[in-house]
């Protein structure tokens, strides 16, 4: 039973991230193929990094009773794949969220800026403007 504690915690965490992903359509619920390739390449790269660390004798598997004991390679527990998936997934979701927030904020600021300038222009351009063909950007009033 206790051998499943770490794997179980990783799976519950991955499930929680998936709920956030679905709710905000950040990664797998935005573009599943792209998300799968992004996380997949990341996990493979991190596994190679792990193997390098193991071969160099930098770290090794602990004696924790909370792991299943299933190994992908000597000293490389199966839990590591799920941990690296969690690491990549949380990084991808966090960045997607922060980047979207920044993008929306920039768009909001731009819209506000345009609205402020736009509210001043119709009167002045209407008074000074000659023919109605003054520009494609003027969307209202000119034709009448």
């Amino acid at each position: 039973m206790t051998g499943l504690a770490y794997l179980g915690a990783l799976l519950v965490s991955l499930g929680g991230l998936a709920l956030l992903d679905r709710r905000s359509r950040l990664a797998f619920w935005h573009d599943p193929r792209r998300a799968a390739w992004t996380v997949g390449i990341g996990v493979v790269a991190f596994l190679l990094w792990d193997v390098a660390g193991l071969l160099l004798g930098i770290f090794a598997r602990g004696e924790s009773p909370h792991m299943t004991g299933i190994l992908l390679a000597p000293e490389l527990p199966i839990e590591e794949v799920f941990f690296l998936t969690l690491l990549c997934y949380v990084a991808l979701l966090a960045w997607r969220w922060f980047d979207r927030t920044a993008s929306l904020r920039a768009a909001g600021a731009r819209a506000l800026h345009d609205a402020e300038r736009g509210s001043g222009t119709p009167g002045t351009s209407g008074a000074a403007g000659g023919p109605g063909s003054s520009g494609p950007s003027g969307s209202d009033g000119g034709a009448a």
Binding site: I58, G62, L92
Partner: protein, 112 residues
């Protein structure tokens, strides 16, 4: 080779390869992701080492800890926080490029 040498080498290669894409991304979201992943690493790496999930060879690490997390482990957090945005951006390029070129064509036609 010690852990700091390996991890620094990995980060240098990653940043060099990512730089052309990275420099075009909005800066703050990437920096903010790095910060968040480092905080998560400080907390959860500490817990995972306390749970004896993995052990380090004492002579291969610097012995500098943030909470209970070896300094070298933060390289994983930084790599994930830089690598994921770059991969996502690179992998999404093909389709937007097609869309952008067709949009440009429409613009040209519209202007002519």
């Amino acid at each position: 080779m010690t852990n700091i040498v390996l991890n620094a080498a990995v980060l240098v290669v990653l940043l060099a390869v990512s730089w052309p894409t990275l420099r075009r991304l909005r800066g703050w979201p990437v920096v903010w992701t790095v910060v968040h992943l480092c905080v998560l690493t400080a907390v959860f790496d500490t817990l995972m080492i306390a749970a004896d999930l993995y052990v380090y060879a004492p002579d291969k690490i610097l012995g500098v800890y943030i909470l209970g997390a070896p300094l070298e482990d933060f390289a994983y957090a930084i790599a994930a926080a830089v690598g994921m945005p770059v991969l996502w951006t690179v992998l999404g390029r093909r389709r937007p490029r097609v869309a952008a070129s067709s949009a440009a064509r429409t613009d040209v036609e519209g202007a002519g």
